[in-house]
């Protein structure tokens, strides 16, 4: 399943969260991929074998899998998953050095905690940032956004289409549940050109 040679994955604008339940439906109106999270390691292997398109994984949330460099190598080399969310900066950098996209997961409950979460994370090509909860991103100062390595993913508590669109104006990618992604796709089909542009704009690679 491993690509012969990694070319750095490009994030889709939307990742739909897959927790191992009903299979995810990728709405044609969205440029979407799948994020595997809160899922058993066996289900990860099955999903990776059967899915098409860009796939990402929240390494810290997989039951039965460690969140270390060996696990990252397994998901990249054996399963062909090139986008890895991790709370460990050295794992994110390891993924980036191997040609994948390593996304350091920062918990942003308040500004002090966000600063601490990002402290000491080196700027490395292929390393970006996941901000949880994503809904907080529109409330950050421009100077705080500038501190975050890009690409940036908004992850968590995006429960409304309006919240997702607000984030997409600021960052490269949002993680949504299937119901919110479907609603966003409906909005894209029925709305004005700017919204469609927001959903199809190619995210910055680095």
């Amino acid at each position: 399943m491993r690509p012969d040679a990694w070319s750095r994955p490009v994030l889709p604008r939307v990742l739909i969260a897959d927790c191992g339940g009903d299979p995810i439906r990728l709405p044609p109106a969205l440029r979407a991929g799948i994020l595997l999270r809160d899922i058993d390691v066996g289900a990860v292997v099955r999903r990776a074998a059967s899915s098409e398109g860009v796939m990402a994984i929240d390494l810290d949330s997989v039951r039965g899998m460690a969140s270390d460099e060996e696990a990252a190598e397994f998901v990249m080399d054996t399963l062909g998953i090139g986008v890895v969310f991790t709370r460990r900066s050295h794992v994110a950098e390891h993924v980036a050095r191997r040609g994948g996209l390593g996304l350091l997961h920062a918990l942003a409950f308040d500004s002090t905690g966000l600063t601490r979460a990002l402290d000491g994370s080196a700027a490395v090509a292929g390393r970006g940032t996941v901000v949880s909860p994503g809904a907080v991103l529109p409330h950050m100062r421009p100077s705080e956004l500038e501190q975050l390595a890009r690409p940036i993913v908004a992850y968590g508590l995006l429960t409304r289409v309006a919240d997702a669109l607000d984030c997409l104006e600021l960052v490269e990618c949002v993680v949504l549940r299937q119901d919110v992604a479907d609603a966003l796709a409906d909005t894209a089909r029925n709305s004005t050109l700017p919204v469609r542009n927001l959903l199809t704009t190619v995210a910055a690679e680095e």
Binding site: D38, L107, A108, F109, D110, S111, T112, G113, S132, P133, A135, V136, H139, M140, Y155, G156, L157, T159, R160, D163, R177
Partner: protein, 192 residues
């Protein structure tokens, strides 16, 4: 119960409270109209003088057990902070809520929300812990959660990224009883 009543009565005087991480911020908070000072940093073993200054200024002191240094988040740590005079003790550890209450302080459970699944499990966790008050973080997103937030049956504080008057007004309109913020421009605002 009396402690909680007094705490909420103070909050009604001004619903935006100071959250401080430094001595400089303590000075500013003491000079402001904030009725309660939330202490988020410092040496928990040596907070006595800080708490006395807060009391001398006619304010209440709420100490974050999980964030101050030197004190373990366990029953003895709670006992220590209560002996120093903390009027309220904040923790993410639900099991400590009854201990805090037994010490005569207001028990504030810090609820960190990053995923919707946290909301799904929070109700049971809160019911089991029995806090007097819940602090939700990041509080600034409270308005967007209004339709999916369970009714916890206790007052809510909102903390985290609340920096502007517009943020504060939205959060209070979404049902928060009060706000904790490090933004001095908001301290002491919004009498109920």
């Amino acid at each position: 119960m009396r402690a909680t009543g007094e705490f909420l009565a103070r909050l009604e005087r001004s619903r935006c409270c100071a959250a401080i991480v430094s001595d400089e911020q303590l000075d500013l908070a003491l000079a402001s109209r904030t009725p309660i000072v939330f202490v988020l940093r410092g040496n928990g073993l040596a907070l006595g003088p800080c708490i006395r200054r807060i009391h001398d200024a006619g304010k209440l002191a709420a100490v974050h057990l999980d964030l101050v240094n030197g004190v373990r988040a366990d029953p003895r740590g709670v006992e220590w902070l209560a002996q120093l005079g903390a009027d309220a003790i904040i923790s993410s550890h639900g099991r400590l809520m009854p201990v805090i209450r037994n010490e005569g302080a207001v028990a504030i459970l810090r609820l960190l929300l990053s995923r919707r699944t946290h909301l799904d499990t929070a109700f049971t966790a809160v019911s089991r812990a029995g806090p007097d008050i819940i602090e939700v973080l990041p509080g600034v997103i409270l308005p967007s959660l209004a339709t999916i937030m369970p009714d916890f049956g206790v007052p809510l504080l909102a903390g985290g990224f609340v920096r502007t008057e517009a943020d504060a007004e939205d959060v209070l309109a979404a049902g928060a009883a009060g706000i904790t913020t490090s933004a001095p421009n908001l301290w002491g605002m919004y009498a109920a």
